[in-house]
Amino acid sequence: MTFFAADDLGVNFGGIRAVDGVSFEVQPGEVFTIIGPNGAGKTTIFNLISRIYDPSQGRLTFRDEDITGVPAHEIARRGIARTFQNIELFEHASVLHNLLLGRHAHARPHFGQELFFLPSVRARERVHREAAEKVIDFLDLQPYRDNLVVNLPYGVRKVVEMGRALCTEPTLLLLDEPSSGLSVEETAEMAFWIQDIRSLLGITVLMVEHDMSLVGAVSDRVLALNYGRVVACGTCQEVQSHPDVIKAYLGG
């Protein structure tokens, strides 16, 4: 069975070919990292997977299903959750509120019942709250539960955003530069979270990352991109020593 695969994926923005025939496959239970210089098309691939962009060519397969034509709001329900490079939290809401929104994929809102806040709505809210509390416990977010996101430091926001993604109960977690803007200590902590998410929760992680110490610490396989094309794919060591990768980063 194919867990996740991108096959000959491509997208054009006007005359720019941002992603050009990228193919890769992610095995269940691994941490798969995409690296590349700025503008290589890493985040674009994420936006293609979460269906915010429509690919001009190629197809995406997730758990043996073609998800190339699935609408963006359906992706979370299928089991793919993501974080964003420049944190996209709901800033004027509390941490708990953000996590509960992560449960939206599992909520079956019934407007008529909600108007009167019937017992059925209350019962469902309790279930969502319990799920959110599990994530709070997992990520040690207890002190921030009722804080507004806008009042939190950047490092905590990163964790909250990851927590919100975990609340959707994903099988594939897309992390877009989890260490950007974090201090060295926070990055080390992030490495532990990612390992825990993989080994304790059994979630496959696909991430975009620049910090090679983090990449080396957690990744099973690494894919290097440049100008929207695959340069190299393999273990962290292999990719780092690949001549084309060195050329892409250092020139020459």
Binding site: I75, A93, L101, F117, E125
Partner: protein, 380 residues
């Protein structure tokens, strides 16, 4: 400082934060209900505050919670008002049925406006709603069979289940009751998944979408719900003013509604009510000021001599008798609020609360506005 001690998840699901807050609201409700007994009859004529309160809640759902700013809400009010009067006086339906139908019809109109709204964001959406309001006003003028056009149409006093609400006091209680129902329904939706989805759309559409929020569906729902509330408010509004004419539902009224939510404080139901009190009572204050301010100014200037006194009196009187004074004052207040207190009256109230609850330890920088650059690379 009071810290609510929560021991169950249900403590966070309640309408009120804790029993203390519930008691404060009970006290407020008692005060509102006892007001007609305590003050002279003509002052009870403030039922407009409660009608505007429903309008404020309606626009707050759309602008404050979903982040879709509408300049067409006077049109929804108008649709509700005309529909109610049509159902009540031409079709002859009972009052309750007529209000419900008017609200549903307005909700359907809101849904129609909401559909193109899915492709527009920010100021373009606002302009689209403005265009809608202008079209609807034209429809009110031309569709004479229902609206009686520019001749206008008188509205009877409400009679509900055989009980006549002719007196101002009775109508006051009717408005209070409807506002409470509107607040209750809205608070219920806001603490359920739908309300959370609305807030998510306001703060980050792309993240909302990735969390499984169907943008089109929830935006349309917000429009429909907001318009439905406006329709119900319109029914009361029709009885309140007693005479419907197309020019009442002008863009100026829409702007007043927007002013209401901005001045009250975007993103809170409290704000909608503060704003309603403010917008409904400001014209009263201005007309009172018209009578007294020139006198006071004249008397104050009279210290400098009799001529100066009368000159100041005449100058001030000429100024306050200007016909455009009211919109001018509204505009000035809006600008001042956006500059100095973007969170509105409710934001100011919260700051006062924090000041007193942390009293000797209050830090001046608690609410200092910061520039943040985290959202610099948005997708659009």
């Amino acid at each position: 400082m009071r810290i609510p001690f929560k021991t169950t998840y249900d403590a966070d699901l309640g309408l009120f934060r804790d029993p203390v807050q519930r008691r404060w609201y009970a006290a407020l409700l008692a005060a509102v209900l006892l007001l007609p007994l305590a003050v002279p009859a003509y002052l009870v004529d403030i039922s407009l505050v409660f009608i505007y309160g429903i309008c404020g809640v309606s626009l707050m759902v759309l602008a404050g919670y979903t982040g879709l700013v509408s300049l067409g809400h006077a049109a929804f009010l108008g649709i509700g008002a005309y529909a109610h009067v049509f159902f009540l006086q031409d079709v002859g339906l009972p009052w309750v049925v007529s209000v419900a139908l008017a609200a549903l019809l307005t909700a359907a109109a809101g849904m129609l406006v909401g559909l193109p709204a899915l492709r527009m964001t920010g100021v373009y959406l606002t302009i689209a709603t403005l265009a809608f309001a202008l079209i609807i006003q034209e429809v009110f003028t031309r569709w004479e069979r229902v609206t009686h056009g520019l001749k206008g149409r008188p509205v009877d006093k409400p009679v509900i289940f055989g009980v006549s609400f002719t007196s101002d006091v009775a109508f006051y209680f009717l408005c209070v009751a409807l506002l409470i129902v509107a607040l209750w329904l809205t608070a219920n939706v806001l603490r359920a998944p739908t309300g959370r989805a609305w807030v998510a759309i306001r703060d980050s559409e792309i993240a909302a979408q990735s969390m499984g929020v169907h943008l089109a569906r929830y935006k349309t729902m917000a429009f429909a719900y907001s318009a439905g509330l406006m329709g119900a408010a319109g029914a009361l509004f029709a009885h309140k003013i007693g005479f419907l004419a197309p020019d009442i539902f002008s863009v100026l009224l829409s702007i007043q509604f927007l002013l209401m939510v901005v001045v009250g404080g975007l993103g809170s139901l409290h704000g909608a009510l503060y704003g309603a009190v403010f917008v409904a009572l400001l014209p009263v204050l201005i007309s009172e000021a018209r009578d007294y301010v020139p006198q006071w100014a004249g008397q104050a200037a009279a210290v400098l001599g009799k001529d100066a006194g009368s000159a100041v009196y005449l100058a001030v009187e000429r100024f306050v008798k200007q016909p455009g004074l009211e919109p001018g004052v509204f505009g000035l207040i809006l600008v001042l609020f956006i500059l100095f207190e973007p969170l509105g009256i409710y934001g100011r109230w919260r700051k006062l609360q924090v000041f007193f609850s942390t009293f000797p330890l209050y830090k001046r920088a608690t609410f200092r506005r910061q520039k943040t650059y985290m959202r610099s690379e948005r997708l659009r």
